[in-house]
């Protein structure tokens, strides 16, 4: 089994630095190095560096690439300016979520615009397969899955930008939030975007696979005095949970629509036609479906995916989709889908944690917001 797993270009570094490796989306990935809490807090207080090379990177070239993507994504693409990044969903005709993605409009060094779609590792094969008939309708769009040829590193935390100073030109360090550009790191090509999955400021870097180990080492070196740590997928999960960000396979799947997930902002229904639009118009008005909420639990025990949420009469009103102990808040938190009558801020509920009822209440998402000073 393990021989069939893919390795990122940084695999050797992880192994050499004591990472606990495990399978994730057919990659052998670092789950943790020193420990989830230490890595989590380093990202909140200083800098966390993440190997996210397993994420799928799909490139679309050609003058009609924007029209193809506009047809496939819930978010409008045709009005995107060079350097813009948008969060979007990919839905099926029924309005169920196939994936959540970041789409970037970039300018290549030769001056041509192209689009980059970053998809979940676990959905990459499905999305590539699903794209095929649509690509056939746009024969002038050139599609390349550049995942294997490239690597992706996230540098996140209040000191992340500072740590990247020795590597990147000033124009990459002053990018606005959800902005991206094709630039260079130490005279090698690199895409830099001011995005992340932690709730902190930071950058995500895409470079050629063979350049990744050097970029990684340089960031680790530059951040040494600032408290940098390599961060595994364990803390990536607790960070995104605190930031109230959904994770495909937990909060999102094909049975969930964007409105239930609280992601209506990522659907532009007006004046456009795209896959799933008709269903989404209906779903945008449906108030009867379960909704995604945040829960804070009493005590120390975390609710995990699948735990039932109960109302005062012990009726099941929903299920937990993600749950963990929150290192920043020092208490257990969870996301859940709850029936509309229970999905009300302040609602007192119980969670059945392996037979024990634990009190919880519905709180606003995100659980954690970075302070504006940092």
């Amino acid at each position: 089994m393990s021989s069939q797993l893919a390795a990122t270009p940084l695999h050797a570094w992880h192994q050499a630095h004591g990472a606990r490796m495990a399978e994730f989306a057919n990659y052998e990935m670092p789950i943790q190095y020193s420990g989830i809490v230490a890595e989590h807090l380093a990202t909140r207080n200083a800098i966390g560096v993440f190997d996210i090379s397993h994420m799928g990177r799909l490139r679309f070239d050609g003058p009609r690439a924007d029209q193809l993507l506009d047809h496939l994504l819930t978010r409008r693409v045709v009005d995107m300016q060079t350097g813009q990044v948008r969060y979007s969903l990919v839905c099926n005709e029924e309005g169920g979520i196939l994936d959540d993605v970041l789409v970037s409009c970039l300018e290549s060094p030769s001056g041509k615009n192209y689009f980059l779609l970053v998809v979940n590792a676990s959905n990459r094969a499905k999305i590539v397969q699903w794209l095929k008939p649509h690509l056939a309708d746009f024969p002038d769009v050139e599609f390349h899955d550049v995942t294997d040829a490239t690597a992706m590193i996230a540098v996140q935390g209040p000191k992340a930008i500072e740590a990247c100073k020795p590597l990147l030109p000033a124009s990459a360090l002053t990018l606005g939030y959800y902005r991206a550009k094709v630039t260079e790191q130490m005279s090698k090509p690199c895409i830099v975007s001011r995005t992340g999955y932690t709730g902190e400021d930071g950058l995500e870097l895409i470079m050629k696979a063979e350049d990744a180990p050097r970029v990684w080492e340089n960031i680790m070196m530059a951040g040494r005095e600032m408290g940098v740590r390599a961060v595994g997928l364990g803390a990536r999960d607790t960070l995104r949970l605190e930031a109230g960000m959904p994770l495909y396979g937990h909060e999102l799947d094909e049975s969930i629509d964007p409105y239930q997930a609280g992601l209506g902002f990522a659907c532009n229904l007006k004046d456009r036609i795209f896959v799933g639009k008709e269903s989404l118009e209906q779903k945008s008005k449906d108030q009867t479906l379960p909704k995604r909420v945040g829960l804070v639990l009493e005590g120390r025990r975390a609710a995990r995916q699948g735990a039932n949420v109960l109302d005062a009469d012990s009726r099941i009103v929903g299920q937990v989709t993600s749950g963990s102990f929150s290192p920043t808040l020092d208490k257990p938190i969870a996301m859940a889908y709850l029936a509309p009558e229970a999905a009300v801020l302040g609602m007192a509920l119980d969670i059945d944690i392996r037979g024990t009822k634990v009190s919880a209440s519905v709180v606003p998402l995100p659980f954690y917001k970075k302070s504006s000073q940092s």
């Binding site: 789950i31 943790q32 420990g35 989830i36 809490v37 989590h40 364990g234 607790t238 005590g299 120390r300 025990r301 975390a302 995990r304 963990s324 102990f325 290192p327 257990p332 392996r354 024990t356």
Partner: protein, 130 residues
């Protein structure tokens, strides 16, 4: 009471049992340093009640880390006579000393011969190195 890992008997699932050299028939039970290291970031522990009867190999409680929940299994059969309730509020002490300070429950054994079926330190160490 000073308990060192060499004196203990183990389950594959990383629980240890210590039986003092007296006639009390009481086994002190905990989890190994290896288990604590593997779990990391402990946040919660659920303990049984005094008086509860346990079967060897049955679950007597659970320990939860940020990442996951793990059941704890009893190495011996018997009745719980004491629980280390103060441990629940200082789980970090398990990373310092999971043996003397980190004991979890004490069980009056109903069948002390079960101890012979547990791993000794050498066998347990070997298992952990795999």
């Amino acid at each position: 009471m000073s308990i060192t890992p060499e004196k203990l008997r183990y389950l594959n699932s990383h629980e240890w049992a210590y039986v003092a050299d007296d006639s009390s028939g009481i086994a002190t039970i905990g989890i190994s340093a290896f288990a604590v290291e593997e779990l990391t970031d402990l946040v919660f522990m659920a303990l049984p009640k005094v008086g509860q009867t346990l079967k060897a190999g049955s679950e007597f409680g659970e320990v939860e880390s940020v990442k996951a929940v793990s059941p704890m299994y009893s190495p011996v059969s018997g009745t719980v006579v004491e629980i280390h309730s103060a441990l629940v509020d200082k789980l970090e002490s398990l990373s310092v000393d999971p043996y003397s300070e980190g004991w979890i429950i004490k069980v009056k054994m109903s069948d002390p011969s079960e101890l012979a079926g547990l791993l000794d330190w050498e066998a347990y160490k070997k298992q952990c190195s795999h």
